[in-house]
Amino acid sequence: MEEKLDYIKLASNKSKGKRPYFHDDPAVERVLNITMALAGELAVARERMDSIERLLEKKNIVTREEIENFVPETPEQEEQRQTWHSEYISRVLRIVQQEMEEMENPDKSLEEIANDINEM
């Protein structure tokens, strides 16, 4: 068996070239990116809820109270829930990871790369 990929971290990698920032203060950019990721995740949760509600309605098998009182029942369930949180946070804080990658590995600007490429 080869070692499994650290897919959570890899999925949020930055691409080559310095990242462009558009706001006067890069902090604004950072917060905006985190906020947009959160906006996305809220939409994802909303879509899932929509599926669940429609299925419950259709089959009429689970009550609201049962959902309200549910806690994980097995170690696997616990692990699945925590994995979800881990992936979730990595996704939302993508820009912070990428800024660290840039710090560790300072990159050329796209302008410089464009000029390099023009000679290739």
């Binding site: 890899l10 706001h23 879509e47 302008e111």
Partner: protein, 394 residues
Amino acid sequence: MAKNLTPVWNKIAKHAMLPETTHDERARYNFLSNLNKHLAHVAQGNKTAYENRVEPNFKKEHNRSIETKEELQNAISSDSHYQIWSSLRRSTMEMRQQAGRSIVLRQAEELRDKAEKLNKGKSTLVLNPDVKVPEYLMAVDNHIMPGSYHTELIQGDVTPAANYDSGIFVTTAGTIGRYSDGGGKAITTWVRQNYPDFKPKRILDIGCGMGHNVLPIAKAFPDAEIIAIDTGAPMLRYGHARAVDLGYNNVTFMQMDAAKTIFEDESFDWIQSTMFFHETGGKSIYKIMNEVHRLLKPGGLTLHIEQPQYTDDMSLFEKFMRDWDALNNSEPYWSKMHDIDPAELMESSGFRREDFMQIGAKAENDLIEGGNDENEPEDYGRAPIWNVFGAVKN
């Protein structure tokens, strides 16, 4: 539909190589294609901002109009609407990559195994590990796709292509069809209409990627031998497996650099490329076109689908907006390529000026929801509208 909604992601064409997706992963893609469409509307504010404050402010300060792209870039960069649109668009593109990679990387081994099973023993997949990835591809991750087309995170990796396949439907918000093959279909129809007697026996697609745009050609000319080349092994493994699963057997996928192929002189009737040249480099583009000329039979046809051409009557503002992706979505050669006249490029490779042709093409779409409403604003760099240039070799 009045709201002109984007198609849900699960409308994408299914095949054995398409990565498995969870409910949330599909929902994330749905959010992103809606966001893409939304931002095409937000982009309209850039024109308003430019006309109402950026340009007037510049005039007040300098007593003249904005004259160069650099001046425009400087002036608009401090405009708050341009800033928020740009940062939202960049962010959306990064989220699209993150979403796609988180789907495919968690199942990298499974995808690799599926590809291996479909590809096993097939002579129509020819990989060559000695082929070097061109240095211009090593210099950047085009459209901010980390690792580009060639990086292999595991042996036999296909994840770059699986990411590309599942995500292009999101980036284009479904406007190029369920198989993302609207470009290949459009060019096939055009060739059949304009050259009804053309019976190509051997066709070459250069920079085929995962092969989605060469398959409509293969379908239209089932008796032709079709060769699709790319330097990225992951693209070829995935593209070949996808084609096999979709029932194609007349396309051979080969790992090869389009600038130095192993084919004989005058051995192809048709040489095609789709969204390829803007991801090459300033010197390679000439080498590749020379190779196209060398490989084409006399009387053979070559066509290249590209981003819309700049025209003289295009405003400085529109050119600037069309170039946004170059530096901000890591497509650095996209704007540099505008300095080259396609007619001159082809002429320098031996084609005759009078044989040069240039046509417009619009994606053929098999999705009702994917149709771009006349009233929808054009999303520069995403719109399913292209420029095609080419020539018949005489």
